[in-house]
């Protein structure tokens, strides 16, 4: 079926209807979450008790809003911190990997490339437990051998960052490699003919060309880190990132506070995505 070949109207109509239904299905859960953030009730469900901003700005029990809930605010801060660390690490390693695979032919290159893709086909929870197990082996060895207590190797933010980085680095590598492949290497040679050293050529020509991909990889890494659940769940210590904190709340029973946090998350990530898209538009 293709627009240039005429089709019976009934089939076309049915197809369009299916697409409309699909988008309703996509939008429904998020719309519901957003709408109930404004319900003046203790539960995010019907009946509708009237409109309120209290789940955002309320400061009195039983309606403490997001902006007055210390635990949630701290969790947002933790998530942002973890996200920035993971993104910075992933973009750095991803750039290095992209150059390695793009510029060098060496023995074991194919094997290394497949190994680099592996984290994508390992379930997140398995990544989490394997890092948990290994870090405790190391920590126990350090304690038994030298009586060193290395807290960074116990469940906590360091392990969360490493755990998320272990698979987000692959994504960053793929995003940056895709752009580096489109780069015309003669530009670099031209710079070197004009007297630039190798590093100067890369810094002034190649890196600016890669900039949209670097920003893109950073944003994608940040979003993936922010919403990661499986790997984080196994490695988390006492400082819970937002997804874990929300999950704990949700197990106790949900209030529209969670809807309010979710709505803020939606706005935040849409904003980030918008920044990324405009940045890439300008580059293209």
């Amino acid at each position: 079926m293709i627009p240039t070949i005429p089709q019976p109207r009934a089939i076309r109509a049915a197809y369009t209807a299916y697409i409309v239904l699909f988008f309703i299905y996509l939008a429904l859960p998020l719309t519901v979450v957003a709408v109930f953030a404004f319900n003046d009730s203790q539960f995010p469900s019907l009946p509708w008790e009237g409109f309120t901003w209290n789940w955002f700005f309320g400061d009195k029990d039983p309606m403490i809003g997001v902006f007055h809930d210390r635990a949630i605010l701290r969790a947002i801060g933790t998530s942002a911190f973890v996200g920035i660390c993971v993104s910075a690490l992933s973009v750095a390693v991803g750039t290095s990997n992209a150059f390695l695979f793009n510029r060098y032919q060496f023995r074991g290159r194919g094997l290394l490339y497949v190994l680099m893709l592996m984290p994508l086909v390992i379930p997140g929870i398995v990544l989490g437990i394997s890092i948990l197990v290994f870090s405790s082996t190391l920590a126990n060895a350090a304690w038994d051998g030298m009586k060193w207590d290395i807290t960074a190797l116990r469940p906590g933010l360091t392990l969360v960052v490493l755990g998320q980085f272990s698979f987000i680095a692959t994504i960053a590598t793929l995003v940056i490699s895709a752009r580096l492949q489109k780069f015309d290497r003669t530009l670099e040679e031209a710079a070197m003919n004009l007297g630039a050293g190798r590093l100067t050529a890369v810094r002034t020509i190649t890196i600016p060309f890669l900039a949209p991909a670097l920003v893109g990889a950073f944003v994608v890494a940040f979003l993936m880190s922010f919403e990661n659940f499986n790997t984080t769940l196994m490695l988390v210590g006492s400082d819970a990132p937002l997804t874990i904190a929300m999950f704990d709340r949700l197990k106790e029973g949900s209030t529209p506070l969670l809807n309010a946090v979710s709505l803020l998350l939606m706005l935040g990530s849409s904003l980030l995505a918008l920044v990324m898209i405009t940045f890439q538009r300008r580059a293209a």
Binding site: I5, F134, R198
Partner: protein, 285 residues
């Protein structure tokens, strides 16, 4: 110059080697070694296959393992069936502005966390939820209907959560199919179904495979959706791993479970690649 290139090569090789060995390869070897350990006394361990024997000997574990695998495959299949017509519509039926707008609309729900998406389904499906109220209001049901806490709810959640990862690769591969090839198919007397079978699906195979692999992995390793939407009888294998590690503190058995999950996912991904004649580099890279 040669020495400099060599130095650059080594400097670029360091981060990837450090990352892959310290965070992927060695931890998995260590996990495997721990899974082969059996506690024989306080702080004393012996090497044995006891944990794997426990896994094979306990019907609950085996049943959960098989159920998780079957449901993850089913979820992948349903996602593919729902996503294919949509991707084809976006890639081939519309052009320009509308095309990029619809594509973007497919991505939007996935910029928010899985937790929020699952939470949305809880609000819709629960006893006091929207669907239940809608059914009562329309007179189709006389009392509140509980649609949460069963396998169907898990399926709805899994399919919804992984939709994006199917749509994006499908749209990308379908877009690269030249319209004139499909037109030629019609000119040569092909019908809708035969063109789908002979032209469109073969061309879209890399996209179908990479989408299916990612969706399958995400469903198999999912913890959130089964925990929140599933009921007492719908245990997921990841929940077993979690409870061995965090609740029971039996890391040896938990590691064995983790290893079984890894083997299961590797076997199914490998089989999928073999059956369709694809490679990991081609579909994922």
């Amino acid at each position: 110059m040669r020495a400099q290139a060599r130095l650059g090569f080594i400097l670029l090789l360091m981060p990837i080697l450090l990352w892959l060995t310290a965070l992927i390869v060695i931890p998995h070897i260590d996990m495997f070694l721990i899974s082969l350990r059996e506690r024989v006394g306080v702080g004393e361990y012996a090497t044995s296959t006891a944990n794997y024997r426990t896994f094979l000997g306990e019907p609950l574990y085996l049943v959960t393992f098989a159920r998780t695998a079957i449901m993850a495959v089913t979820a992948t299949f349903i996602t593919l069936l729902i996503a294919f017509p949509v991707s084809y519509y976006i890639a081939k039926m519309i052009k320009g502005r509308l095309q990029s707008a619809l594509f973007l609309m497919c991505l939007v729900p996935f910029w928010v966390s899985e937790l929020v998406r699952t939470f949305g389904w809880m609000i819709l499906l629960r006893e006091t939820g929207l669907f239940s109220n809608l059914l009562q209001w329309s007179g189709l049901a006389s009392g509140p209907v509980e649609m949460l806490y069963n396998d169907a709810a898990i399926m709805v959640g899994l399919v919804y959560t992984s939709m994006l990862f199917m749509v994006v690769p499908l749209v990308t591969t379908l877009e690269s199919l030249d319209d004139s090839v499909i037109e030629a198919g019609y000119d040569l007397g092909g019908s809708g179904p035969s063109i789908l079978r002979e032209i469109i699906i073969p061309h879209a195979t890399p996209g179908i495979v990479s989408g299916s692999i990612v969706v399958f992995m995400l469903s198999l390793g999912n913890y959130l959706t089964p925990t929140m939407l599933g009921g007492k009888d719908s245990l997921w294998f990841t929940e077993l791993i979690y409870s061995q590690f965090i609740v029971r503190f039996n890391w040896e058995l938990g590691a064995a479970f983790g290893f079984m999950l890894l083997i299961l996912s590797s076997v199914i991904v490998w089989a999928m690649l073999r059956l369709t004649g694809q490679t990991l580099e081609k579909t994922m890279g």
